[in-house]
């Protein structure tokens, strides 16, 4: 069965078993191995992707349910040479150790901040409540997200912009570059 949907703003066609998990289609058919599998049962959040902007577990979605929708994976957040402010904050604050939970953490955090979610510790912990981390003890992850959210940002013209705007801009720009260098982007593993 042919299933057409957008992955990181690019239209992709999958032709195969309609009940293959979206997680496996992203990793095996599209080579986007940034999305990880932890538990395969919706508990750990390592497989988190954004479906029409909302964080969901790709291990629980048969690919046929993605038809006509927009998927974003961690690869859309940044390129190794051009990380998003969120990714930079994870690097600076030690928000990533082994890295298995990181793609999912980044996407849950990005969805929360983009939607204008609150940036106090409690709200951030709630936003990443569906993402388990076995390494960091969460403290550094929360710190990273708060840092990315707080950082006063100046555009070239010197105007301060909100986190929400900033992430949207980051995203737009990266997605543009991503689709220009699509083959390169697709063959990379997680950009973190």
């Amino acid at each position: 069965m042919k299933i057409i949907f957008k992955v990181n703003l690019q239209e992709r066609t999958y032709d195969g078993d309609p009940f293959k998990r979206l997680l496996d289609v992203l990793r095996e058919d599209f080579g986007l191995t940034g999305t990880k599998e932890g538990c395969g049962e919706g508990e750990c959040g390592a497989c988190t992707i954004l479906l029409d902007g909302q964080p969901v577990n790709s291990c629980l979605i048969p690919v046929c349910q993605a038809e006509g929708r927009g998927v974003e994976t961690v690869e859309s957040l940044g390129l190794p040479e051009k990380l998003s402010s969120l990714q930079k904050a994870f690097l600076e604050e030690g928000g990533a150790q082994c890295g298995l939970c990181t793609p999912g953490m980044l996407l849950s955090a990005a969805a929360h901040l983009r939607s204008g979610g609150r940036t106090d510790e409690r709200s951030i912990r709630q936003a990443i409540g569906g993402n388990l981390c076995r390494c960091t003890g969460y403290q550094h992850i929360v710190k990273s997200i708060r840092k990315a959210a707080k950082k006063p940002r100046r555009t070239k013209s010197g105007v301060c912009i909100s986190v929400k705007q900033m992430l949207k801009r980051d995203r737009k720009q990266i997605l543009k570059e991503c689709s220009q260098k699509s083959t390169r982007c697709a063959s990379r593993s997680s950009a973190v």
Binding site: K20, E41, E43, P55, Q65
Partner: protein, 301 residues
């Protein structure tokens, strides 16, 4: 990237994961087509958000080779607020319900129950129809639906039915749905008067992503001098299906809420619920905690 045999091998090695090879997915575009396809393929499993079904599938526990994907039925999405209540489409997600203005205002226990389900990833996908049809003893929306006395509307080739929520559940993971029958709507009326007290308490091992050890929902209307006009209380996870506390409610309705009456009501709880020992908790823990929730509510603590 991997050869096709990869996932086949997976299934053969101890039946780890469901094998997508050769799975048939029926994808109706509208409700009428869904009902027709289901009656023609009674072995098919309806699929909504997949947060229950895909877990079973991934662990190789589903043997059906045919799925009826309901996710394209636009008519079954969304929530419609009317003068006296809400009509909730079975495909409405927990996220949509927890943030719906009319539900937040007039049916806050339902909003709170849905906001306690899983984590945000699960709430974006999991639907109220799937929650109900799955009929887990730990379904978190059930106690709230029970005290608001919701009705579940079903449809099949044979026609339509409307069932009070409590009559829909027939046992652990069992419903009164007949072969070929689907949930098409859930109706919840607003209480005529706002309650004087209300509570929703879910007790689990952690905040996110946890199934309940016990979950209670209560509404209380008081008259002059502290006389109980009406008490509605329901518990989940403490019996094969959600339970309205018939004995407790009968004992307090029409009476003044004194300390003795509250103790008598709490003693009667054992007649209404029958918790068990299982992987999540023990009979005794569930009984004690449920009683404490009831006592605190009646005492206004």
């Amino acid at each position: 990237m991997f050869p096709k045999e990869h996932s086949l091998r997976f299934a053969q090695l101890g039946g780890m994961r469901g094998d997508p090879f050769g799975m048939k997915v029926l994808r109706p575009a509208g409700p009428a087509e869904a009902v027709r396809l289901y009656s023609q393929n009674p072995e098919a499993l309806p699929l909504a958000g997949g947060t229950d079904l895909m877990v079973a599938w991934n662990s190789g526990r589903l043997n059906s080779r045919t799925m009826l994907d309901l996710s394209r039925l636009k008519e079954w999405r969304g929530i419609e607020a009317t003068q006296d209540g809400v009509r909730i489409g079975p495909l409405a997600t927990h996220c949509e319900i927890e943030s719906h203005p009319a539900i937040l205002k007039r049916l806050p226990l339902l909003a709170e129950a849905c906001s306690s389900v899983g984590a945000v990833q699960i709430r974006h996908r999991g639907t109220i129809g799937g929650n109900i049809a799955n009929a887990s003893p730990a379904g978190d929306s059930f106690p709230a639906l029970a005290v608001y006395e919701a009705f579940v509307h079903t449809v099949s080739q044979e026609g339509r039915r409307s069932l009070p929520i409590l009559e829909l559940f027939a046992g652990v993971k069992k419903t009164a749905l007949k072969p070929g029958e689907l949930i098409e709507r859930i109706d919840v009326r607003f209480p005529a008067e706002p309650p004087d007290r209300q509570v929703l308490r879910k007790v689990g091992s952690r905040q996110a992503q946890t199934l309940s050890k016990t979950v209670g929902a209560g509404l209380l209307w008081l008259g002059r001098g502290g006389v109980v006009l009406e008490l509605r209380f329901a518990f989940g996870s403490v019996a094969p299906t959600v339970k309205r506390l018939k004995a407790v409610e009968a004992a307090v309705n029409g009476r003044k809420l004194t300390a003795e009456l509250i103790e008598r009501a709490c003693a009667l709880l054992a007649e209404d619920i029958s918790p068990i020992d299982d992987i999540r908790s023990t009979r005794q823990y569930r009984m004690v905690v449920s009683r404490n929730i009831l006592r605190a509510f009646l005492a206004g603590a």
